[in-house]
Symmetry: C2
Subunit: 518 residues, 2 copies
């Protein structure tokens, strides 16, 4: 076990000064209502792209919009504002949990107060509809039907960003929304360093001419068996299956209502079993984070993961650092052999490991290898900036998409289904989200290095297929804090230093120079 | 097509007097919030016994309880009270829809104002927990674990009934809650008439000694194929599958969020295919009713079915009057043959019809034939009265159950799983609900007779497997009105006379004397 004494424990709530009681009661009461709405909204959001018939989309959107309005009234009430102001002034008298609650709720209040409730409700209605249109557009490879929604969403989100902060660039506002403290300046710098590593590596790999074979993981894999495999992957990863629901959707995602209920919505392709495997490892990382938050935060604003980047940090941690590690390969292969004995019988762990680490530019982000993955993110980051600056319209996106994929990856995008329609994010208003995937990868690399420095027996654990110690380190240093700490503070506490992308670039460089003998 | 001119159309909302505008605005605003909460609560209620892990039960209960409290505050606000009082005084100036909204909301307000919000919230939390305990108790045949919940629920519901009306018998209050205008006096009279028909018929059948064979529907029926069959049954019945979700649960039930989203939760037994068949016809009746309400009522208190009895009137209509009619038998048999060709190949419609109409006392209510069915209801009605009067405690229930099943049906109850634990109703606080099943049967018989009098070509339609005309009659006379009319008014409008159980008793008498040659 690693030494965890260095981390402060999540503090118990002690008795608080009695003259603060009415303010704390206001806080507690608002939190109860926000909890119920959050539980309901998340549930409705999960059902939309998984279970609900298309016929009910507008009705669900209306219900969600009204719940949003109610949240707005709750959070922006003068009574709560008074209570939060007073409690902030008496910051020193609060226990740490209450102090965090006050801080998080004040930030939410500041954001919500600036944006009219009607705009937030409009975004909710519009994304409900747009997500439905997107799913059909993707199936039909029909960008034109989705196109007007992109323009409407960008216009609305630009307006909302302006309402939040008229002096700030609209896209910066949304970057900061998904990851506190980030901006184009931050990501420009980060992505420049990533490109400095990835681009030359990719050129070296190309000139090398060697490619590991993927034959061993190719073939036709029965869907029903893949669903059983999906369950086993989550179990191997350590997801608590007694507090979990696995369901089906077009574009995989995760959600959690409380620590007692995490959801993975997955998609199975009969012609690709590794896609399911790594997608499940990824979503299982999100589930683990949510299940690992201190349960006493469940009914408060401190519940759930602290940011998109830290969430992707956990999901990409299990997908890549664990799931694509040579030491772990025998255990994933064993699962595959259990469900597909005939097809996988003769495959060796080394063949399997190389096959799932082959660097090969192709058009689908979620199928990308670790090395080219950030380039997929950078393409979206650049196109989103063009949309938000007004330099591009939705009609330009398919063209831009093809051009950038050619430029960055040397890949021909065959159609919009495997191009600009591949991801659901824009349809749900997640402009500014994609960069957090790459950032999450970098968080994960830094956390892994720290874990090793703290004495986690990585190689040994993974080669035994035992993730207990790895999970416990993440739970201790990241998961349990929920939203009570911002991502930069979590990194600083866990790693005794600020965010440093060199862990990520060094990892990529060493790993792929090793595999390709460069 | 039947002559539907006799029925008034659901009126359009016309312009209303402008001095009523602020009151109407209050009404509209409250309805919007109630709609969102209803949508969320129904969704959470559906997921509880179908999808959710047991670990989240208390969290879901808490979310539901808070939404209940919010409804209480909305409905009981002095502002809404003032608006409803004012609008009631100007009743004559309102269009018919608004008048119905005011009437229904006032009734809800009167009920909610009397019961403290904390009690309603407690019932919500308790039923969430109890439903979960019940499901496990049933699986384990363990009455003892469920027993304390029955006592706690009865105590709480007695207190709530007393709060609603301290001068009235507590059980009467709940009977009236599920079916407006009913009481023990009403049901005592109704059940006496039912017993007068059923008991002698049952004795005659016993002495006759003849029984149709059930061999033709017995065997082992693959679960996956039964789920496909379930879908086909709903489609044959006319349920709109584009606004529908079929899911799995322990005890079948239906729900609907709006006219655009009906749910059936079903259960498949591999050793009994007719149970699935008739259960789907039953739940499809509930779905049809909800889908058939005027869609303009969706976001108002007029949405959904008007009462439990009228709901069961529709479900038992399709289960029995349609589903157990000789003319319809070939179509159900055809579905069975499609999914189970080997097993059903040689079965004739006449054999199938007789097999599914055999009168045979046995311990399970949902498997009961049409004739013994009301006796199952009467047993529950009697035991519930004993619980609510304090003459019996939960600990007495298994004994009472066995004694009454012996007395009424001559049946030995083998265990609590197939005895007092068979139904989920009590666990969800549905004391006083069971009588509506029998009442629904009687509503259905009266509606069927009226349908025939109105010229619906019953025999001809059913023998063609075409339910369009039957459904259209029900839509015109019952479904579209939603909650805008009470059940007695609907019966009066459709049948030009009040509720009359002789349609039901005559139907049973004629049908079973025919089948058994009495």
């Amino acid at each position: 076990m690693p030494d965890t004494n260095a981390t402060e424990p999540v503090p118990e709530r002690g008795p608080l000064p009695s003259d603060l009681a009415p303010y704390l009661e206001t806080l507690r009461e608002v939190e109860r209502h926000l909890y119920a709405h959050r539980y309901a909204k998340k549930t409705l959001d999960v059902l939309g792209p998984t279970i609900d018939p298309a016929a009910v989309t507008a009705d669900r959107g209306e219900a969600l919009a009204v719940l949003e309005e109610e949240d707005h009234d709750l959070v922006c009430s003068p009574e709560l504002k008074g209570a939060l102001d007073h409690l902030s002034e008496h910051d020193a008298e609060l226990d740490e949990t209450t102090r965090a609650q006050v801080r998080v709720l004040r930030r939410t209040q500041e954001e919500m107060t600036l944006v009219p409730a009607a705009d937030q409700a409009e975004l909710t209605r519009l994304t409900c509809e747009a997500n439905d249109v997107w799913a059909r557009a993707k199936r039909a490879d029909d960008w034109a039907s989705f196109e007007p929604y992109v323009d409407r969403l960008v216009a609305l989100m630009r307006r909302m960003a302006h309402e939040r902060d008229p002096r700030r660039d609209a896209y910066d506002v949304w970057l900061d929304h998904f990851e506190q403290g980030t901006s184009r300046a931050f990501y420009d710098d980060f992505f420049a360093r990533v490109k400095d590593t990835v681009v030359p590596l990719l050129m070296d790999i190309r000139s090398k001419g060697y490619q590991p074979s993927r034959d061993c993981v190719e073939g036709r894999f029965d869907a029903a068996r893949q669903w059983q495999l999906a369950r086993d992957v989550a179990e191997l990863e350590g997801v608590n299956l007694d507090a979990w629901w696995l369901t089906e959707t077009e574009h995989p995602f995760s959600e959690a209502m409380t620590t007692n209920y995490a959801v993975t919505a997955a998609h199975v392709y009969e012609d690709d079993v590794t896609r399911n495997l790594y997608s499940m490892l990824h979503e299982g990382g999100h589930n683990s984070y949510e299940q690992g938050v201190d349960p006493s935060f469940n009914y408060t604003s401190l519940s759930g993961g602290t940011s998109a980047g830290m969430h992707e940090g956990q999901s990409r941690f299990f997908e890549n650092y664990v799931g694509r590690d040579r030491a772990f390969a025998p255990h994933l292969l064993e699962l595959l052999k259990r469900h597909f004995p005939g097809q996988m019988m003769r495959v060796t762990p080394q063949q399997f490991w190389l096959a799932t680490n082959r660097v090969e530019p192709q058009p689908i982000r979620t199928e990308a290898d670790e090395l080219t993955y950030p380039l997929h993110v950078i393409i979206r980051y650049e196109i989103e900036q063009l949309l938000f600056s007004g330099e591009a319209k939705a009609a330009d996106v398919p063209g831009l998409w093809k051009e950038r994929y050619k430029g960055y990856l040397g890949v021909r995008v065959p159609n919009d289904r495997d191009g600009a329609l591949q991801d659901s994010h824009w349809s749900t208003g997640y402009f500014g989200y994609f960069p957090t995937y790459a950032l999450g990868g970098a968080y994960g690399a830094q956390l892994k290095d720290q874990m090793l420095a703290d004495g986690v027996a990585w190689e040994d654990d993974l080669s035994r297929g035992d993730l207990t110690e790895v999970r416990e380190w993440l739970r201790q240093h990241i998961w349990r804090y929920g939203r009570s700490k911002d991502p930069d503070e979590l990194i600083r506490m866990a790693c005794h230093t600020g965010f440093d992308p060199s862990h990520y670039t060094r990892y990529l460089d060493e790993k792929y120079r090793g595999i390709y003998g460069l």
